[in-house]
Symmetry: C2
Subunit: 417 residues, 2 copies
């Protein structure tokens, strides 16, 4: 990673709506007001036709690229792919990333004050869906003066939002890039979600979701949930390569229950650090939204779901060792999209990294995405934004330290999923 | 399942040793006394050459076949394969199954009184290994007057014991049947073990293992550990077939956090019922023993490990959809065994049932095992046991109710793994 092609220092922004007119959710419940945290990178062109929305995964945030200050050493979660000359080239495109409702990175969430009772929502927060998230994103792009997005892109849970845009708001988007995702959350995905939630419920500090301001948070339960998640993001093969059966700081077995194997240490580290940056109730809401995601349910078939979305261009990507979102989910999607006559590019990328591959296979992703967007920009006659005299982003010198590639990989994975 | 070929009513037995001379463990610690719970089915022949040891999996017990009383409606965990005319034909063979040390089904465990302090061991119980388990099984067969086993068989954790017999006690066994197993616990298996243990540690009722006699047990943590396990025993395909995205007792989403999807209900049911039959500390000890299992570590290669085990006959079985113990583990084993010149029969059984397949693919397993044992008995000149005048087992009428095959499958899976 070089800082020459960083978007530089970026600003956390937010947009609040539904203050007077409540936001109606799929469940029938309402939410008022609704705040959406977001960031933007690059500049909108004159006819507002170069906007790309990036949708984040389970534990992601609106901070997809750049740094929040000169002292900040950790870039946004998809910094590898967003920036000048990168896959999502901010010299050409205006890139937006927003935090989903219910998550804990600035958008309205269970930790916020419930205006009806004057204390945090906790479990009184309404259950939200992927459909609700996307309808809130539409409010955001309208607020930014954008009628139609050039593209929506995202991996994993982000890919679900991408498909929701294509299926239910086909006139709002020219192209979509669903990566390592599915059109219907599988029973195995629901099972892992539920185990994570049960680990949180089992923590006595969770207290039915009422722990804001209390002495204890359900950190132990949330850490277990995250550990389960981390196993599922890796492949058996990558675990062998990365950890094998190596012991940590030991020559031989200790015959006790302290952390011994490197894989144990990795899981504990990630589980514990997650509790410092994520909220347990948000984990419940975000996973529940994913579990409810099933695009084919209302119509009975995926092809019927996309029948009005045939004019959209699709770049579908899956990874051979991803057993959490196996390639055949993407293949079913591709089959439905081609059945309705859509323009689909599909690649099942050979990778040993499991589900994490979508953040780690940077070179392949860059090739795929940049050539897809280049073609798109050409076909849609997307003008470059006006040059500015003062391009702060590319000039800034950041106080970041050089990092090893293993360390970079760890941070990337930590930021993911 | 018909009762005509049941072993009938069986008796839970136990054998205690190391009362004066402590049992030395691989860790260097000792245990005294040591009790091994076991059961036997069929009869030993005159020259004691027809004995087969069955090794159980993670949550299994010595109760592998038959019923404990006439009112008992639930047979032993491998009743499908052990009985007159079944895969392990009790008309021909004397079948033994014993509970591993540290487990909670009658063998010495953390819940037993530590003679040094007069209260339950808890975490003062020494860490045991697969090697320790097998050396205790040798004490048991010696107690039963058996010098050499005709065969040792088992799936999953049972298969590890089978391989331990072959690698480290090659003169004690003519043949082995390792099923759906590995010669070295993989980092993914360790990862899932550790998440289960962390879920138990995270339960405040666990109290560092001191909960015997307390008001609360770490049931919530143990249930989460078991739920994780249950996901790993299934395949993505079998989950689709068995549960899909079906809701339980609901027409549409409830938009709340109660159990909704059938897969959630399945996991919760199995997690909770497990807490009524298994001990949380035992879960820690048994999983730790599995994590330590690595037959190639001392020699550096699997072939070197089995160099003195070439005279043993092997029937190795794996299942195509088993992602927890993927087929390539068995293939590596087969490759090492053939390299040393052993007689190996290997089958990668095409099955959609994931790791559970070893208990569910009864017909295939019966064909494979019975023909392997038939050849073995012929080649080793194994005489049939003397007929008895009163063969209780095959005459008994049991007060069991007819069960649907889905119900049977559920009970089998519950009893497993």
């Amino acid at each position: 990673m070089t800082h020459e092609n960083s978007v530089g220092i970026v600003e956390a922004q937010s947009f609040t709506f539904a203050e007077d007119d409540p936001f109606c959710l799929e469940s029938g419940a309402t939410l008022s007001p609704v705040t959406i945290a977001y960031e933007t990178y690059g500049r909108l062109n004159a006819d507002r036709s170069n906007a790309i929305l990036i949708a984040h995964a389970l534990s992601g945030s609106a901070h997809a690229a750049g740094y929040h200050s000169e002292q900040d050493t950790k870039p946004g979660w998809w910094d590898d792919c967003i920036g000048p000359g990168k896959a999502f080239d901010t010299n050409r495109f205006f890139v937006i990333c927003s935090n989903v409702i219910g998550s804990c990175y600035g958008s309205t969430s269970p930790a916020d004050i419930n205006p009806a009772v004057g204390k945090p929502y906790g479990l009184l927060f309404p259950v939200v869906t992927v459909g609700d998230w996307v309808r809130a994103q539409i409010k955001l792009i309208e607020h930014l003066g954008i009628e139609k997005l050039l593209c929506v892109a995202g991996g994993s849970m982000g890919g679900m939002q991408v498909l929701e845009w294509a299926a239910h708001h086909p006139d709002r988007v020219h192209a979509t890039i669903p990566i390592a995702t599915t059109a219907a959350h599988s029973p195995m995905l629901i099972a892992f979600s539920e185990v994570g939630r049960q680990a949180i419920y089992a923590d006595s500090a969770w207290n039915q979701g009422n722990y804001y301001g209390a002495d204890r948070k359900p950190d132990a339960g949330l850490a277990v949930a995250r550990m389960v998640g981390h196993i599922t993001y890796l492949s058996e093969e990558s675990m062998h390569e990365k950890f094998g059966r190596r012991l940590r700081d030991l020559e031989r077995y200790g015959y006790e229950f302290q952390t011994e194997f490197e894989i144990e240490s990795y899981l504990k580290y990630n589980g514990n650090s997650f509790t410092r940056r994520f909220d347990a109730n948000s984990y419940l809401y975000v996973t529940k939204a994913m579990d409810y995601f099933d695009l084919s349910a209302p119509t009975g078939s995926l092809a019927a779901t996309f029948v009005n979305s045939a004019h959209i261009k699709y770049l579908v990507v899956s990874f051979t060792s991803d057993w959490l979102y196996p390639s055949y989910h993407s293949k079913k999607l591709v089959s439905a999209l081609t059945a309705v006559g859509a323009d689909v590019t599909y690649l099942d990328v050979k990778s040993a990294w499991g589900h994490d591959a979508f953040l780690l296979e940077v070179e392949t992703m860059t090739d795929l995405i940049s050539s897809f967007l280049e073609r798109l920009a050409r076909e849609e006659n997307v003008a470059r934004p006006e040059p500015t005299s003062d391009n702060l982003a590319t000039k800034i010198t950041l106080a970041t330290l050089p990092r090893s590639s293993e360390e970079e990989r760890r941070l990337k994975i930590e930021a993911l999923a």
